[in-house]
């Protein structure tokens, strides 16, 4: 489903050039659960951002299905994100002024031709067991509940790819387990997930793990359950 080839990402700031990604080559199949690990600053989040099209590679090819995403302009990329991808962040990134139900509904806000928005939002909230908090605001929820709401927002549009950037990073063990179980459940239902994590035990819940160091993929291993 996803093919990355010779992906480079360089940053230029104050005449200092930093290479975050060196010649990344990566394929992700449909229905795969991929974990990305590595020390801080190794480029994991950069890679995730490029997969999520919120950052553009300096060079290289990114094919999603048959589509070459490098050829798309900003507007087209925005539409692609809205219709194809779901995001889960370490710091949840819910909007404080909206209720949980409204935050989850935001996942459909920028898509056209969506029917039964209300029903889909309700279903997404049910799936992550957060429906009872639909009318509450993010600051009224615990961290685990907020992350579950963020997952509901990510899946409400039935995305082809879910990108999770350290989804348990701000959660305690119990909540982290809960979130991981949700992700595993989604993957079991056929969702493709790419997750960045520092936690080995959480990475072991994925089917495949890649290790990164200094902007390069240094290891890749399938996980046998």
């Amino acid at each position: 489903m996803i093919h990355l080839e010779n992906i480079q990402r360089r940053y230029l700031s104050d005449e200092v050039e930093t290479t975050a990604l060196h010649d990344i080559k990566l394929d992700v199949d449909a229905g795969e659960f991929l974990a990305i690990m590595g020390p801080s600053g190794c480029g994991k989040s950069t890679l995730l951002n490029i997969l999520g099209t919120v950052d553009r590679p300096t060079s290289g090819r990114y094919l999603f299905g048959e589509r070459d995403l490098a050829a798309l302009d900003e507007k087209a990329l925005a539409q692609f994100r809205g219709s194809t991808l779901g995001f889960v962040f370490q710091s949840f990134n819910l909007i404080d002024e909206l209720t949980i139900e409204e935050n989850v509904g935001l996942g459909l806000a920028y898509r056209n031709g969506v029917s039964d928005r209300r029903g889909r939002v309700a279903a997404a909230m049910d799936k992550v067991s957060i429906a009872h908090r639909a009318r509450h605001y993010p600051h009224q929820l615990s961290g685990g509940q907020q992350q579950r709401a963020a997952i509901a927002r990510a899946i409400v549009g039935n995305p082809r790819l879910i990108l999770a950037d350290e989804p348990t990073g701000n959660l305690d063990t119990a909540n982290g387990e809960q979130v991981m179980n949700i992700l595993a459940g989604l993957n079991a239902e056929g969702a493709t997930i790419v997750m960045v994590t520092h936690s080995r035990s959480h990475a072991d819940m994925a089917k495949r793990r890649i290790d990164m160091l200094d902007g390069r993929i240094v290891a890749s291993a399938m996980h046998t359950m």
Partner: protein, 803 residues
């Protein structure tokens, strides 16, 4: 704007009520001030534009070119018989005179006389002024010389609900006569200098001055079908003047006077004679105040809105991640901004509407909001300000890559460029606010000065009664009235003169020959006074003596026209006549050896403070001055004195309306206009400063909240609370201090120009600049001190965890 964006905006406003109130409220106040001052400017610049086909009506102006004479300048008055001579030379001319107007005549009813706004006009009046009529035919209403037309409210006053047409009224100009009413016209609106409620026909006048070139008696209006016709007529005036004026003014009449046409819509703000263009300057100033106050409010709003918009960067980044494209985000911010500004505009309109009665009372106005005119302007304003407020944050935030924003712990604030821009905006708005404060201080000081300045006489305890000069009172009756006034309890002295406090009386100037200087000599104002004139006004000579009956040559009424007589002059006349000092002038003889100077007094400022003082000489006429205005010196409360004088008057001279005013009140009318302006300016200034403070408070609050972590770090490193307060206050004090560099020169030049309109004016002392600047700095410090103190007391551990 999608539903979630709308919800987001509403919840954001509701969650941060104080910011929302300050920001929207500040803009609303700015809009209200702009609206009110615009209405005032619109009112003042709309005079006579209500007249049908007003662009064809012209006022004939007389220009006296004699430089150095107090009479020089252009006046909207003409010789009484000018129009008759014009029509003789230009038979197709359409014109009318208006002689009188406010208190222009007397209505006699049931044996009692009361002053009324009566004007005498020509038969062609309605061909020039197409006034809307309620009853009667314009074409024929004034055909009969005994016909009059009255206003709607005069009809109500005199006849109630009865039809006034055909009714008889007795009016008195020089003498009483009866007239019949042939029509009723609609009341004149407030934006008009035309001031009459009864129109009668102007009769042919037989007095010599009526046709004397160089005199002025009334206002002449002409109608032309096109500007080109008016211009062509104006160009023919020099030849006309030479033809008609040479007999009275000599062959060089063109060098002495001119006639020109002024479109009637420009007449209201046109200065006359030596009076300065102060009124026009005032209108322009207030208009600028309104625009600048709005500008301050807009700058404030944009400053705070853009600063706070950066807090929503994370939301913007998430929306991008969820599929919003740049167009959607820009559209969201613009819609939010336009909607918020629209709310502010609506509140501003409500404030203006509810505040107008207060403004009207303070300014002596009757303004109201013309919604048909104001609504589209407000809509445009909403659009422009909304776009300005929304575009900057939209473009700023759209620029930041979503990934960077989401990864960052801190919302982007526009960086150093954003901070500098915000500081510049604070400098700009405080610069204007300080300039306003300086302006208010000077206006108030000048107003106080003219009210309390030494006028050369004791203004309290004087009652001025101009009616003594009424032509229906012969000398015997005038003397009887004066004797009766002297016997009234509380009256200490009574005098007469042909010029009195409050510009009552007549203005006479004479050329006085000075030995050793070429003719025609020096132009001096000539005032004729009766017994006890100087004593009644509490005037002491600064050299020599004043008139007294012990000296026979003092009383000119006992002397022949060519006999030598004594005069008293004022200080300015000493200089004008060429003497080195008042002492030097004593005993000198001027005026072909007929006028001997026996005393010098200081300037007596009877007239407007805007007019320059005149060099004057006084002549004594014994019992009563010609064209006499009576002035009484009394002790105690003026009200019982006024009442007893009025009673006596109505008993002894019932056919002459009583018109008595205290000296203080008679002078007050000269200050009224400036008082109104000072009040309006003061209100505008207070609101401009308030808006500036609101903006400063909001910005300080925003900036302080962003520095909480920094404060924690500084405290951990050893900074005290005082150090933190100094840091935060200093950050905002710098732009306020810099603002003075804008304010001082701006205020200096503007105020110098305004004060130039006063003959008697205060000096622009540094106190007027330093005081308001210190006040502004104090206000700024107090505005941000509270937040700074609070921030400085935050526990470092908490602050370090703060994001």
């Amino acid at each position: 704007m999608n539903r979630s964006a709308l919800l987001s905006l509403y919840r954001s406003l509701a969650r941060h009520k104080l910011y929302a109130a300050l920001n929207i409220g500040g803009l609303a106040i700015g809009i209200a001030v702009f609206l009110i001052l615009s209405l005032y400017v619109r009112f003042e610049t709309s005079f006579e534009q209500w007249l049908p086909r007003h662009d064809g009506i012209y006022v004939v102006q007389t220009e006296f070119k004699d430089n150095g004479s107090p009479f020089s300048g252009t006046y909207q008055d003409t010789m009484g018989g000018l129009l008759e001579q014009m029509i003789e030379d230009f038979p197709s001319l359409v014109g009318t005179r208006i002689n009188g107007g406010e208190d222009g005549g007397t209505v006699i009813r049931n044996g009692a006389a009361q002053t009324e706004d009566i004007a005498r006009v020509d038969a062609d009046f309605f061909r020039v002024f197409d006034l809307p009529m309620i009853i009667g035919e314009k074409a024929t209403a004034l055909r009969d010389p005994t016909a009059i037309v009255i206003s709607q409210s005069a009809a109500q006053r005199y006849f109630g609900n009865r039809n006034p047409v055909g009714q008889i009224m007795t009016l008195a100009f020089e003498k009483p006569a009866t007239y019949h009413i042939t029509g009723v016209f609609k009341d004149l609106p407030r934006n008009s200098d035309l001031s009459f409620s009864i129109l009668a026909r102007q009769e042919r006048n037989s007095s010599p001055s009526w046709y004397h070139w160089g005199s002025t008696a009334l206002t002449t209006y002409l109608r032309f079908e096109s500007p080109q016709a008016a211009q062509s007529f104006e160009q023919s005036m020099p030849a006309f003047i030479k033809r008609r004026g040479t007999h009275d003014m000599g062959p060089d009449v063109i060098d002495q006077m001119g006639l020109s046409l002024l479109p009637i819509a420009q007449a209201h703000l046109q200065p006359q004679g030596l009076a300065s263009a102060a009124k026009k300057t005032t209108i322009i100033t207030l208009g600028i105040v309104g625009v600048l106050t709005l500008l301050i409010a807009i700058v404030n709003y944009i400053n705070l809105a853009t600063a706070r918009a950066s807090l929503r960067a994370r939301e913007v980044a998430m929306r991008k991640v969820l599929g919003a494209d740049q167009g959607a985000l820009v559209g969201q911010f613009l819609s939010e901004a336009i909607l918020t500004v629209a709310i502010a505009a609506l509140i501003g309109l409500i404030i203006a509407e509810t505040g107008l009665p207060l403004v009207n009372a303070a300014g002596g106005l009757t303004l109201s909001v013309p919604y048909g005119f104001v609504t589209p302007i407000l809509a445009l304003l909403v659009l422009i300000v909304g776009v300005m407020a929304g575009l900057y944050p939209a473009l700023l935030l759209a620029r930041f890559p979503a990934a960077a924003v989401l990864a960052s712990a801190r919302a982007p604030g526009g960086g150093r460029a954003g901070t500098r821009t915000r500081e510049a905006l604070v400098v700009f708005q405080f610069g204007l606010a300080i300039a306003f404060m300086i302006g208010t201080a000077v206006l108030v000081a000048q107003a106080r000065h003219v009210r309390s300045t030494d006028l050369g006489f004791q203004r309290e305890g004087l009652l001025v009664v101009p009616g003594l000069a009424n032509s229906s009172l012969d000398k015997a009756r005038q003397l009887a009235l004066l004797a009766a006034l002297r016997r009234l309890p509380g009256v200490e002295k009574v005098t007469t003169a042909n010029s009195a406090v409050g510009n009552n009386g007549i203005n006479n100037f004479s050329n006085v020959d000075v030995p050793g200087r070429p003719k025609p000599g020096v132009s001096l104002r000539s005032i004729k006074v009766g017994r006890d004139f100087f004593e009644t006004h509490g005037v002491r000579p600064i050299a020599g003596r004043v008139f007294d009956d012990a000296h026979g040559t003092d009383d000119s009424s006992t002397l022949g026209p060519d006999s030598p007589r004594n005069i008293v002059i004022n200080r300015l006349a000493v200089a004008r006549l060429g003497y080195s000092s008042p002492q030097d002038a004593l005993g000198k003889t001027v005026g072909d050896g007929k006028l001997t100077i026996i005393g010098v007094i200081d300037q007596l400022r009877f007239y407007s403070p805007r007019l320059p003082d005149d060099p004057t000489y006084y002549t004594y006429l014994g019992d009563i001055a010609p064209d006499p205005v009576a002035t009484l010196r009394f002790s105690g409360d003026p009200r019982p004195i006024q009442a007893s004088v009025k009673n006596l008057w109505q008993r002894l001279a019932p056919q002459v309306p009583f018109d008595g005013d205290t000296g203080v009140h008679a002078l007050a009318k000269f200050y009224q206009s400036d008082d109104h302006v000072t009040r309006l300016f003061g209100i505008g200034t207070s609101l401009a400063v308030l808006i500036g403070c609101v903006g400063l408070w909001g910005l300080a609050s925003f900036n302080t909240s962003r520095r909480v972590r920094e404060i924690g770090i500084r405290k951990t490193l050893g900074a005290t609370s005082a150090d933190i307060v100094k840091l935060l206050v200093g950050q905002f004090l710098r732009p306020v201090l810099i603002a003075n560099l804008i304010a001082w020169p701006l205020a200096f030049f503007a105020l110098q120009a305004w004060l130039g309109g006063f003959a008697d004016r205060i000096a622009l002392s540094p106190v007027f600049f330093i005081g308001p600047s210190l006040l502004a700095i104090t206000i700024a410090v107090l505005t941000i001190l509270g937040q700074s103190l609070r921030a400085s007391r935050a526990a470092p551990a908490w602050a370090l965890r703060h994001d």
